[in-house]
Structure formats: structure tokens, C-alpha cells
Amino acid sequence: MTPTLFTRFASWVGDFGHPFYDDERQRDVWNEASAFGLQFLLWMIPVACTVMIWLGRKPAIPYVLPTMSIVGLGSGMAVAYAKLLSVDLSRPHQLNFKRGAYFAIVYIAFIVGYLRAIWRGLDGHRSGFAVGVGIAAGIAVAAVLLARNWTRMDADFAEERARRDGSPDDQVK
């Protein structure tokens, strides 16, 4: 893979050049530990922000929005890095829909809490409302794009499997 600015940045942030990574078992274990840490943060930060927005309402917005944005950015960068190395996490047969549903419940609770906070404190401040509309629109666009992508990938996957199953070269002799 040709290094790009993004992969160089990832290497710097992850300190991939550290001699620690030379030991493959240490590297594997640390990769698992990092995945655990990332997934833990992807759960705990939105849960904490949801609690904050429901309890703190409008005054909590300046704290929870940047925090949630950082979570989204980190998660997006992890997915983008994997995709650069040909690991596409958005393929429908690689997703765990049950876990996705749990995530969705937390994020929906956050969005509802956020909307509740801005509805109660609109009093002339339209920026909060605009962010709420932006979040809803962003989720809707992402859902449409993902659905379109999945349909196309499902078709590609079915075609690939049909070709593989039908090919005499791949059959066990």
C-alpha cells in the first residue's frame, strides 16, 4: 500500500513504528485490546452524553455535541483506515444487526434528548434547532446511502457466489 497522508497520520497517532509492534503476538493482543477500548468508548461516551443531555438539557449542549462529534470522527477514521486496507466494514454480511440495534437505541435516545433540550430552550436561538435538523437530515441521508450501497453489494455478493459455486475449477476434486 502506498502511504498516504491519512495512513501517515494514522501511523503517527497509533505509533505503529514502535518496536513493541515487532512482536506479532503483542501486536495482535494490542489490536484486540484497542478494539475493545474503542468499542467500549463507542458505548460509554454516547450513554454518558445521553444522560447529560436528558439531565442537563440546554446547558449541556456545548459539552455533549463536541464530545459526540469526536466519537463520530474517531469511529469514522477507524472505518476509513480499515477500508483503505481493503477491509470494508459496511458490507451487509459483515454487520451485526443485533449490536447495531442496541447502538441505535442509545443514539436515538441521545437525539430525542437533544431535540427535547432545544425545544424547551428555543427562545430565539435558532442555531441549536439547525443542528438538530442537520443531525436528522444527516442520519436520513446516511440511511439512504447505506441502503443503496447494501443493495448493490448484496447483488455483487450473490453474483460472486453464484459464479464461484458454478465454476468447475473451484470444486474439490
Binding site: 515487532d22 512482536d23 506479532e24 503476538r25 503483542q26 495482535d28
Partner: protein, 59 residues
């Protein structure tokens, strides 16, 4: 086999002693490169060091 301690083997293979311990215990499956390196250091083949599971064992 080759008169090496776990620490010697780890040093020469460029891994930690804990990695050698884990491989010996069957807790960690090394990469092809590391398996070849360990086999060469011990004067064995990879097949001799790492048992290949048979179909019966798998099922």
C-alpha cells in the same frame, strides 16, 4: 531440541519470551514467517513443530 532456552529462542526470533510460551502452550498460532523462523532456529520443519489438525479432529 536445539539446546535453546525459551528466552534464547525468543531473542533470536525477535519476539518476547511470553510469545514463545504462548506458542508452546498452543494459545497463540504464529504467522507463517514466525513459524518458519522458529523452525529454522530449532533445526526442525514447521510440520514437525506444529501439528496439522486432521479432518477427524476438526469434526
Amino acid at each position: 531440541m536445539a539446546g535453546l532456552t525459551q528466552a534464547d529462542l525468543a531473542d533470536q526470533a525477535g519476539v518476547s519470551r511470553q510469545t514463545v510460551v504462548s506458542i508452546e502452550a498452543g494459545d497463540y498460532a504464529p504467522s507463517v514467517y514466525l513459524a518458519l523462523s522458529i523452525a529454522a532456529l530449532l533445526g526442525n520443519t514447521v510440520e514437525e513443530l506444529f501439528a496439522v489438525p486432521t479432518l477427524e479432529e476438526d469434526s
